[in-house]
Amino acid sequence: MSEKTEYWRANIRLVMGCLVVWFIVSYVCGIFLAPALNHIRILGGYPLGFWFAQQGSIYAFVVLIFFYAWRMNQLDRKFGVQED
C-alpha cells in the first residue's frame, strides 16, 4: 500500500471518529435521549438533555474541530505531505 493511501486511510479514520462524537453530543444526547437525560440536572437548573441541545453540543463542536485540526497537522507531518 502506498504512503498516500495510508495517509488517506488515517484521515478517514480520524474523520469518522470525530463524526461519531459529533453525532453523539448533538443527535443522541440533544435529541434522541434528551427526554431521559432531562431527569438529571447540571449547572444549577439545566435539565441535561436540554443543556446538550442548547449549550453542550456547541462547546463540543468547537473542541472537536480544534482536535481534528491538531491531529491532521500531526498526520501531515508524519506522512510528509505538509505544505512548505
Partner: protein
C-alpha cells in the same frame, strides 16, 4: 438624550466606521474583489466568517424563535453550529487546496462539465437568494423600528443601504469591514444579555444564568422551572420539553448542519486563508466566534420571554395575577405597534391584555400578532435597560443583516459574472466587464430579495432555514462526493444535484406557495399535511439523501471519470505538492 437620537448616533457611528474601512480597502483587481488576495490570517478570517455567518437570522430572529418555541428551537442552535464540523472535516481544507475562486468552478472542474458548473450556479443562486430574502425581512424589522416606520418602508430603506454597501465594496472591503461588524454585533448581543441575566438571576454570564435560580422570586425557583410553570399556567406548552415530532427535529437539525457546510458564501471564506492548515483551524476559530453568540442566545430567548410574560401578567409585585391594562402599556409596546409587527385586539372588551396559549380555557388570546423577529430588538426595552444599550442592539442587528446580505450578494454576483459569463458564455470578457456584470447581478438580486422580503414565507430564521435546506440538498453532496468518492462522474453529479434541489424545492413550494407567492400553496403548512410530519424547513436532509443516492447509483452504471480527474482528486486530498 432621547432613544431615537441615541439610536441615530450609534447606528450612524458604526456605519461611518464600516464605510470608512470599505472605502480604504476598495477592491482593485478581480482576484481581490472575490477572495481578498488569499492573505487573511485564520483568526481574523474566523472573525469575519462569524460576521458573515451570523445574519439577521442569528442575531434578530433566532432568540425570538427560541423564546416562543423553547426546546424545539434547539434545531437552530445545533444545526447552525454543528455544520462547522462537517465543513472543517469534509470540505474546507480540500477546497482550499484546490484553490479556485468559487464553488461552481470547483464543481465544473471536478465533474469536467460546463453543465455541472451551470447546475451548481443554479443551485447556488436558489439557495443564496432564499437566504437574502430572510435577511431582507430582518433588515426591514430593524429599520422599521429604528426609524419608526411601517415595515414596508423600513424594508425599502434597508434595500437602499444594502445596495450602497455591497455594490461599492468588494470582498476585501467586506473582509475587514466584517471584522469590525463582528465586534459591533457580538458586543451588542452580549451586553444586554449580561445586564438581563444579572437582573433576573444575579449571575453575569448568560450561559450560567439560564441554569441559575431566580433572584427576586420568593420561592427561589430555577429560572427554567419558572419558565415552564409560567407558560403552562397560561396555557402554552412547557419551555424545556420537546413538542414537535422527534423525526422532524432530527431532520431539521441535519438539514441545517449539511446546509451550513454547503452554503457558498461560507465555503468561499476558506478560500481566503493562506494554507490548507489554516483552513482547518480557521473553521474552528469561526465557530469559536459564532459560539459566543449561539450559547448566549438561549438565555436571551428565555429571559426575553419571561420578561414579556411578567410585563403582561406579573406573578410578583403589587399587580401580581392581574393582566396589564391596555392604556398602561409601556412605550416599547406602542412603538412596535407602529411597525405593524405587534397587534392587540381587545376580544372581551375589558381593556386588559390577555396573552394566553391555546390550552387556556378561561381567555381567548388577544395578542393577535407577536412577530417573533421583534423579540431581540425589543428585549432590552422590555427589561428597561438604558437607552444606549437599546441603540446598540439596533446597530448590532443592522450590522448582522448587512454583513451577511453583502456576503451572499457577492456569492451570487461572482457565480453569475465569474462562472456563467466569464467561465462559459464570454471567456474573453475583461476584468472590468466582469466587475460591472457582478455589480449588475447584485442589484438585480437585491430587488428580487426585497420584493419577496415584503411577503416572506416565514420568520427570518425560518426563511433562512429553507435556504439551508436547498444548499444541503444540492451543493453539499456534490462537493463532498467530489472529494471523497472518486468514482462519481459528471452525469451522476448533475442528476444528483438536480434531483436533490428539485424535490426539496417542490416540497417547499407545495406548502409555502409556488415561488413563495401567497395563496398558491397546494396544502396547508402544518404537521397533519406534511409527508411523515417533516416540515419544509427540514426536508433538505431528505433531498441531500436523494442527491447522494442518485449520484452514486448513476455514476456506477455510467463510465468512470477520466484519469486526469482521478489525479485531481488525489491531489486535493493532500495538503502539499504531490510527487508522482
Amino acid at each position: 438624550m432621547s432613544l431615537q437620537l441615541m439610536t441615530y448616533l450609534v447606528v450612524g457611528a458604526t456605519f461611518a466606521l464600516y464605510i470608512f474601512i470599505a472605502v480604504k480597502a476598495r477592491a482593485a483587481t478581480t482576484g481581490e474583489f472575490y477572495v481578498a488576495g488569499k492573505g487573511v490570517h485564520p483568526v481574523l478570517n474566523g472573525m469575519a466568517t462569524g460576521a458573515d455567518w451570523m445574519s439577521a437570522a442569528s442575531f434578530i430572529s433566532m432568540a425570538g424563535l427560541i423564546a416562543f418555541k423553547g426546546y424545539d428551537a434547539s434545531v437552530f442552535l445545533m444545526g447552525w453550529t454543528g455544520g462547522y464540523c462537517l465543513l472543517a472535516m469534509l470540505l474546507a481544507p480540500y477546497l482550499r487546496k484546490y484553490g479556485k475562486f468559487t464553488v461552481p468552478e470547483f464543481i465544473g472542474d471536478r465533474y469536467y462539465s460546463n453543465i455541472a458548473r451551470v447546475v451548481a450556479v443554479i443551485c447556488l443562486i436558489t439557495a443564496s437568494l432564499t437566504y437574502v430574502i430572510g435577511q431582507m425581512k430582518g433588515i426591514g424589522v430593524a429599520f422599521s423600528r429604528f426609524l419608526e416606520l411601517p415595515f414596508e418602508m423600513g424594508l425599502l430603506v434597508g434595500m437602499i443601504i444594502v445596495f450602497i454597501y455591497a455594490v461599492l465594496g468588494g470582498m476585501k472591503g467586506v473582509t475587514y469591514t466584517q471584522i469590525a461588524q463582528y465586534c459591533v454585533l457580538i458586543f451588542a448581543y452580549t451586553v444586554p444579555a449580561i445586564f438581563i441575566s444579572l437582573q433576573l438571576t444575579g449571575t453575569a454570564l448568560p450561559q450560567l444564568g439560564l441554569g441559575a435560580h431566580m433572584g427576586g422570586d420568593p420561592n427561589n425557583m430555577f429560572l427554567l422551572d419558572k419558565m415552564d410553570k409560567t407558560l403552562v399556567d397560561l396555557g402554552f406548552g412547557a419551555y424545556t420539553i420537546q413538542k414537535g415530532s422527534t423525526l422532524n427535529i432530527f431532520l431539521y437539525t441535519l438539514s441545517l448542519m449539511i446546509g451550513t457546510a454547503g452554503l457558498p458564501h461560507v465555503i468561499t471564506r476558506f478560500f481566503t486563508v493562506p494554507k490548507v492548515k489554516d483552513a482547518r483551524s480557521s473553521v474552528g476559530w469561526s465557530l469559536v466566534f459564532i459560539a459566543i453568540l449561539y450559547t448566549t442566545a438561549p438565555a436571551v430567548g428565555a429571559m426575553a420571554r419571561l420578561n414579556l410574560m411578567e410585563t403582561i401578567h406579573p406573578t410578583t409585585g403589587p399587580n401580581a395575577g392581574q393582566w396589564l391594562k391596555y392604556d398602561e402599556r409601556p412605550t416599547w409596546f406602542k412603538n412596535w405597534e407602529k411597525t405593524g409587527l405587534l397587534k392587540f385586539e381587545d376580544k372581551n372588551g375589558d381593556g386588559r391584555i390577555q396573552y394566553v396559549g391555546k390550552a387556556n380555557k378561561e381567555f381567548q388570546n388577544e395578542m393577535v400578532k407577536v412577530d417573533r423577529d421583534i423579540m431581540v430588538l425589543a428585549n432590552p426595552e422590555i427589561a428597561k435597560l438604558p437607552n444606549w444599550v437599546i441603540a446598540l442592539v439596533a446597530a448590532g442587528g443592522i450590522a448582522a443583516a448587512l454583513s451577511t446580505a453583502a456576503g451572499l450578494l457577492l456569492a451570487i454576483a461572482s457565480s453569475i459574472s465569474h462562472d456563467l459569463l466569464k467561465g462559459i458564455i464570454a471567456p474573453n470578457m475583461s476584468d472590468k466587464g466582469e466587475l460591472l456584470a457582478s455589480r449588475i447581478a447584485m442589484t438585480g438580486a437585491i430587488c428580487v430579495a426585497g420584493y419577496f422580503g415584503l411577503h416572506p414565507p416565514g420568520f427570518a430564521a425560518q426563511v433562512v432555514a429553507l435556504a439551508f435546506g436547498l444548499a444541503a440538498s444540492s451543493i453539499f453532496p456534490a462537493l463532498m462526493m467530489g472529494i471523497f468518492v472518486k468514482r462519481v462522474n459528471n452525469i451522476g453529479a448533475v442528476l444528483g444535484m438536480l434531483s436533490g434541489l428539485g424535490i426539496t424545492l417542490v416540497y417547499i413550494f407545495w406548502f409555502k406557495g409556488w415561488f413563495f407567492i401567497p395563496g398558491t400553496a397546494m396544502a396547508p403548512n402544518n404537521p397533519a399535511h406534511w409527508f411523515l410530519g417533516i416540515s419544509p424547513e427540514a426536508f433538505g436532509a431528505v433531498g441531500a439523501l436523494l442527491n447522494f443516492v442518485v449520484a452514486y447509483v448513476i455514476s456506477g452504471i455510467t463510465p468512470a471519470p477520466p484519469e486526469h480527474i482521478q489525479h485531481l482528486v488525489e491531489d486535493i486530498r493532500v495538503p502539499g505538492v504531490v510527487r508522482r
